[in-house]
Symmetry: C2
Subunit: 708 residues, 2 copies
């Protein structure tokens, strides 16, 4: 059967055509056991009527021509024909219209097909992109897809489970349930088509675009009523030349080198070659630093070498801060010395249009097996090695978050925010033009890095989607990856021959890739940074039961609003638990969820309720709302939370806790204290605490820690 | 004609019924010139067939009974009947099913009506709430409304213009345009029904709920095909007993009193009666302060009085910090003394279930013409009078934003954020239990207050929606009102007899009220605070042309993403303007929008491009993206922006400017400097700057300053 598809596709290609007719498309689908509506092609009115008589009236008729893919546009479709006479007259009408509007189109006849009317109109499709290969789409068809673009995308291959998940994702999913007296649609049959289509695309990647529109689904199954396919060359980006092991081995040497050279080191404090050496020293790096400068003897107290080959010891990494035109030769020299990688700070490459220079760099990197970070980056920070290989200022606050950014501008925000919030980081990496090392290499490295527990990435594009997904899905069950994809709202550049292609847009494809990879997507810089700092402090929750305990009733309501917006499930308290809370709070306080302990309460009330929440096994995560009062001033609150947390953790497993603080400026100090004890805390805010808890949950669901 | 509606409604009421049949509902609609599908009631099969013969087949038949409002549920609807035989048999079928399922229901017959098939299914409805009266709904009908709740609400009365706006608001609006060869729907006819329905509701407020479902609309008009109405008593909340002038006159005396008494003043530093007096003194209040305490001679150096009546001078306002049970008598004493209002800090009223005590308070307030703020509040700040009448700490940073909050917890966040951000405020007001003074009183006062240019409110509920809308819509053209409505996601308590009522929920009704009032709604505390601080710094834009100028390309992309999410229109630069920018930036910099000046540029490039943006009349608003570099450090950037702004404002009208700053911690100081020069600035952020600009635009559109 599958051979029938290959045969049909090869015939079309031999005819030099890119677009399959409906009839041909359906033949291909049939070869993959996808149910299509039965129908036959007629070449004269009488044959059409004869076909119609064999089917059940009413029938539909559609022009068949390789040159006419938008059949309605030329008057090539007639529906609801209920007699042989109507069929005959429709045949003549369709043929004459087609000949008038497309005189040169070869016409193979008119397809006479049964009308499928009972069921829900769906659309299933596929589109191809260089970075990610095929993405498969599912949506409600007809007016729905046109009016509200209610569609879901996944990268191929799509498993049956993922297909069912796509169906659940659309907003109009209730239309597939039992409705208005009609039984529920057989979603398994629909998922089956999605899954089989994805197999077809893997077998035949030359099918660049597919529109199955409509697919009519009912309780008795799903059938493809119209279909179109486009062929072409599935040009994918070049895949990485390195194995996973090679990547990790190089990265380990680059991030924690025994010796590091600075090519273009300088004794002139106004030069980047000076600040880079100085930062490596000031950052506390314990390995050997080798400044390279043919004209200097000593720089910042370190012996200076004229070239890399003069260095007597092993060198693992080099920072490059020389003019762009000299960088490629330096890479070759590094290769000869056996250096694992270069951190190329130098700019003047693709970012200003010098693509040729950058291509040369890539060539030399591969030839010499030297990995390149950059060019055009601020450098890298890796705190476990006390390495600040950058022209910016040192940053040495150790912690388990690794951050990367494609833009230096965003990188400076990472450094500023980190310092301001005392965020503990394992690494901050600029990837810049990413001519070689990109996100998938970093994920391979941070994935296995015991110093890294959370990965946060600013991404403008992903070069090799396949490698990214492969690297990410290996580790997202262990470590959260948070991504901010910039350019989310830029208008897609995608060719939009197909309906599916038009609906795809880069952003939907990226979302599909992040889903496949298990990456938690955030929508702006502040979310990325808040999550980067907070997720490394909290354990994964064990279940979906979130509780709010608040001293400020008003803040509790706002936190509950935010939970609902961010898909956190405020648990319903069982009677005994509700009563247990009631014991600690004034009679006019509100239990339920939020638990409102009211504003006039002393630290003891916070302590008792927080301990109860942390020690009862039914509660999985805690959101605290604080109200600055004379009875419980900010620092007393912070100390109380810490005390309760420590007491609870002595007897029970850790739970994630976040806090929103309402009060005078002293709450900022209280927030810092809480942060230092692994409670992400946000002053003057009702949303941020919930956003980071929500990101934790999104990851925990991906990682299978909780079942949604 | 209109009398026919009154007659029909009164008949139904006389029969002691609350629900109108379809036939009755349509009679009422016809009286208001709303087109309904023609049809007649038959009482036997032959009559039904005779009616059908007079219409055009196919016809629809529906049971008519005051006791059966969900006709389909009892098998009371048959569609697509295409012959007299089918009609006769349907009649028998409908009657027998109805009698079997609802044996006691009085049946008036079966409605035989034409099938209206050509057109788009819509739903129009109305629901009533105590606070806001009637809200009218419009949405796409059928599966659409059921699957995605794609509906728009407005408070009655709804003008034709508002009705058209409702139609534009729904996501599926494209379904009303020309589609699939069908001409566009006559939206005027649809708007007409909405507007006329709203008139009917004003005339007959006893119609509590309406479902016109479906309304079928096509290019030739719109017709109501099924209709249902429910009657009841339109219980609205009590309206305010004060005129606008009385409100303003009292508020002026309360907020800027010539003399203020503190009832319950204390010399004991642990008491609220002490901190309240101390704060009034420390805040710099210049008027007379009269501590009242029968047991003290002097408090904090001020002569103490035993009671209010002992004070020889005029007293305009009093702060009350005595036990709840004594407050009502104090109000009476204030009335006798001619005091305008009481700021009741005391708690122990409705918030802990003492509703009786609070009702007494309201009674005394009205009897004595004393306005009450609170009870259960932290007090009020009014900086133009240097008044800190609160038990919290003083806050004296003057500026044009007035804030109010229903929750003390949120109030403390306002004070902390204000102090942290040096937000200039005219007032911070707790409304607490708002037994008397509420948001509409405050809007009346701040609306006319020359010291207030922006009003920001945290609202948990609105007592008197009519007064709120009336007060707000008077001033939103002049001053923005920003509102955070808490409890936005709480499940509605609304009775859901009608489809419309079920879809309404409190939140949609509040949104409709805010729209009517011209209030800009925000969704969390940080947005409320950011907008409160920023909107008072910026002039209204003159048009929709927003430009991003950025030193960090990556930040520029994130800002553009945010603009698209927040409905800001990134203008397309005309050729001459694009070229003008190009002159200042490196050849590899990108113009277009964002204008990316690239990261290595000195202050002069920022200055030149910012001046160009501010001085070219085609650009209406400016969003700046800054990247911390050695060439242009943070403070240099801030100074450059200020210089360019001042130079431009010397020759051109002011424009709104916001800035997003990416850099090391020094950007925090740069942000403060920019803020001090009326440029809202946000470090480590890609969204907040855009959010406040977007809020400014939302207001400017409401105020008619720009045309969307």
């Amino acid at each position: 059967m599958v051979n029938a598809a290959a045969k049909m596709l090869s015939e079309v290609k031999q005819q030099g055509r890119a677009v399959l007719t409906e009839v041909e498309s359906k033949e291909v689908l049939k070869a993959y056991n996808i149910m299509v509506s039965a129908g036959y092609v007629a070449t004269d009115p009488d044959a059409a009527a004869a076909i119609a008589n064999r089917l059940t009236y009413p029938v539909v008729m559609k022009i068949v021509s390789p040159d006419i893919s938008h059949k309605s546009d030329v008057g090539g479709v007639r529906v609801n024909l209920d007699s042989p006479e109507a069929v005959r007259s429709a045949f003549t009408d369709i043929m004459s219209k087609a000949k008038r509007q497309k005189p040169d189109a070869p016409i193979q006849g008119v397809l006479v097909d049964q009308m499928v009317t009972e069921g829900v109109e769906l659309v299933i499709g596929a589109t191809f992109s260089r970075q990610f290969g095929h993405a498969v789409m599912f949506g409600l068809g007809g007016i729905f897809v046109e009016a509200v673009s209610d569609v879901a995308f996944r990268l191929a291959p799509v498993t049956k489970e993922e297909a069912l998940d796509m169906i659940k994702e659309i907003k109009g999913r209730s239309l597939l349930g039992a409705l208005r007296g009609k039984p529920a649609v057989d979603v398994n049959a629909v998922a089956d088509i999605i899954q089989k289509l994805s197999v077809l695309l893997i077998d035949h990647p030359e099918i660049l675009e597919v529109d199955l529109n409509p697919v009519i689904a009912s309780d008795s199954g799903a059938v493809v009523v119209d279909a179109r396919m486009t062929l072409g060359e599935p040009k994918k980006v070049a895949e990485t030349v390195y194995t996973s092991e090679e990547i990790v081995s190089s990265m380990k040497r680059i991030f924690a080198p025994a010796g590091i050279a600075v090519i273009g080191a300088s004794g002139d404090p106004s030069k980047l070659g000076y600040s880079t050496v100085k930062n490596i020293i000031d950052g506390g790096y314990k390995g050997n630093v080798y400044p390279i400068n043919p004209k200097a003897e000593e720089i910042l107290g370190l012996k200076c070498y004229r070239s890399i080959k003069e260095i007597p010891d092993q060198v693992d990494a080099a920072v490059i801060v020389i003019p762009a035109k000299n960088v490629a030769d330096a890479i070759t020299a590094l290769g000869e010395k056996g250096v694992a990688g270069a951190i190329v700070i130098s700019s003047g490459f693709a970012e200003i249009g010098n693509t040729e220079l950058q291509r040369d760099l890539v060539k030399r990197a591969i030839e010499n097996r030297v990995r390149i970070l950059g060019p055009n980056i601020f450098g890298i920070y890796y705190t476990p090695a006390d390495l600040c290989a950058t022209f910016c200022t040192p940053y040495t606050e150790k912690g388990p978050t690794a951050l990367s950014c494609q833009s230096g501008g965003v990188g400076m925000a990472i450094i500023g925010y980190s310092r301001s919030q005392k965020m503990g980081v394992s690494a901050i990496v600029g990837v810049g033009n990413k001519c070689d090392v990109d996100e998938d290499d970093l994920i391979e490295f941070f994935g296995q890095d015991p110093n890294t527990r959370v990965i946060a990435m600013h991404v403008e594009d992903i070069k090799d989607g396949g490698a990214f997904v492969k690297a990410a899905e290996k580790i997202t069950r262990q470590k959260p990856i948070i991504a901010l994809k910039a350019g989310a709202t830029a208008s897609g550049e995608r060719a939009a021959f197909s309906h599916t292609g038009a609906l795809a847009g880069d952003d939907r494809i990226y979302s599909a890739a992040f889903k496949k990879a298990g990456v938690v997507r955030v929508s702006n810089l502040e979310e990325l940074l808040d999550c980067a700092r907070s997720l490394n402090k909290m354990p994964a929750p064990k279940g979906e039961n979130v509780l709010i305990v608040t001293g400020a009733g008003g803040l509790g309501v706002l936190l509950a609003d935010a939970c609902s917006r961010h898909q956190l499930q405020l648990m319903t308290l069982e009677k005994d638990l509700d009563e247990a809370f009631r014991k600690f709070i004034p009679p006019f306080g509100a239990t339920g969820n939020p638990v409102d302990i009211t504003g006039g309460e002393p630290p003891e009330t916070y302590e008792a309720t927080i301990r109860l929440a942390l020690e009862d096994d039914r509660i999985d995560a805690l959101i605290l709302g604080y109200w600055h009062t004379l009875v419980t001033p900010p620092m007393a609150f912070a100390e109380t939370v810490i005390k309760a947390k420590q007491a609870a953790e002595a007897v029970k497993a850790k739970k994630p806790i976040v806090a929103a603080l309402s009060g005078d400026v002293e709450v900022e100090r209280a927030a810092s204290l809480l942060e230092a004890h692994d409670v992400p805390a946000f002053p003057y805010s009702s949303e941020r605490a919930v956003v980071v808890m929500s990101a934790l949950y999104r990851w925990a669901r991906i990682a299978g820690r909780v079942t949604p």
